[in-house]
């Protein structure tokens, strides 16, 4: 029980309107490699974008991106990226293992 209440109080601390910094790997399909996705993202959502690493070939674009903003804005930004056909993985990639 003690653990449960503790988890709950921590959870409220970090909900929707709280600031959050998160890091993701973005994987671009070939058709998106040439579009200015990150520029657009920065204009559509109140989040600070910071590219930390990138590798782009004809086949795939991989960008490591830091997003700074309110938790809900970061979540909305991710949803928009996914709609553009971009795969968004946390920096740890497969947190869920078998």
């Amino acid at each position: 029980m003690a653990a449960k209440t503790k988890a709950k109080s921590n959870a409220t601390k970090g909900s929707g309107s709280q600031p959050r910094q998160a890091r993701f790997w973005l994987m671009y399909p070939p058709k998106q490699i040439t579009s200015p996705v990150i520029w657009e993202l920065g204009h559509k959502f109140p989040v600070v974008t910071n590219v930390r690493q990138a590798s782009v070939t004809d086949e795939i674009g991989i960008v490591c991106l830091e997003l700074d903003g309110k938790r809900d804005d970061v979540k909305a930004a991710i949803t928009w990226l996914e709609k553009q056909g971009i795969k968004v993985e946390p920096v740890e990639i497969n947190v869920i293992e078998s």
Binding site: Q53, I93, E97, S98
Partner: protein, 419 residues
Amino acid sequence: MEKATGFMKALKCRECGREYPLTANHVCEFDFGPLEVVYDYDRIKIALTREVIQSRPKSMWRYRELLPIAHEPTVGREVGFTPLIKADRLARRFGIRELWIKNDTVNYPTLSFKDRVVSVALSRARELGFTTVACASTGNLANSVAANAAAAGLKAYVFIPSDLEQGKIVNSLVYGATVVAIKGHYDEVNRLCAEIAGKYQWAFVNVNMRPYYAEGSKSMGFEILEQSGWKIPKHTVVPMASGSLLTKIHKSYQEAAKLGLVSEAKYHIHGAQPTGCSPISVAQKAGLDFFKPVKPNTIAKSLAIGTPADGFYALKVMKETNGHADDVSDDLIRQGIKDLAECEGIFCETAGGVTVAVAKKLIASGRIPTNDSAVLCITGNGLKTLDAVVGHVGETREIRPSLREFEGLLEAENRSVNA
């Protein structure tokens, strides 16, 4: 203070080489490259000889200087030293001179190689002062964390996707772990788990403890070397999900050679994946050094990772050792499970079926020459994936309680054997 890190020196970024202290940390601040444990091999060379190893109890910890803990292990002391079996009947069936099975279907306590990585992660977590451990998993990892944490008196949180089969959930719940089922798409669940791991000061075994955790897989390689009479096998076939196990088997062979435990020799590390989730094998066959993420669709759930974290490094190992990757269909996976069961009496899970079936393919294509010898890493028990084979392994013969009917059945069987 100096002794407090045992034979470990630091955590080091695999991309840029920057070093970090030996804390619960897994990613480089500068380029987000994965961190890896570096050791003091000069000191290990003095402390760890074949004689020392052979004088110790038969568990994975007989190689403890090469595992990332500072003191004696406190979790999973009995894990490892599973049998390496000479598989003559399977070798005959596949038409190769010699086959060996490294049999982690009987690993202690939860019947998969994950007990190796988990016991290292939890032993190290204890050293770092954690009392709560966690993981996000769809199967073997969850079971192993729940069981080993229970035995060690650690509190365990296990995160799972909400659509997981009952059987797999029971295997974690029974140990008293708090199992949290998360609804949503795989990617969302994955990101939430990453967020939780970042937020709570827990030992998340495959996230902030990953550098230590992953090293546990090396023990499988050390055991193979010792059980092969201190020789590096010419061919080793390894199943790949994230690709971590494959890279660590390679690392174990390299370390053993560097320390003089085995002599340097040419060897090949081959990787096995299910066709329904084969990003690494597809890239290897196309000669690429990167992979494209895929959406998994395979009965080999324990290998269903569409964006493998160590895929890039696994490709590098296969290139360096002139190894090959291949992948097999669900039907061939089931056939692989049957081949191993019928020839050697070992019932493996789907990941083992993948390894056996890929080995067969590599032998048939000449990638593993028929006059060579190969070791197959069989990593999990078949009782865990019964659903995958039910209805595919034959049927019972039903009779009434009559001797005549039984003898009729025997006769029919003899006729079909002789036909």
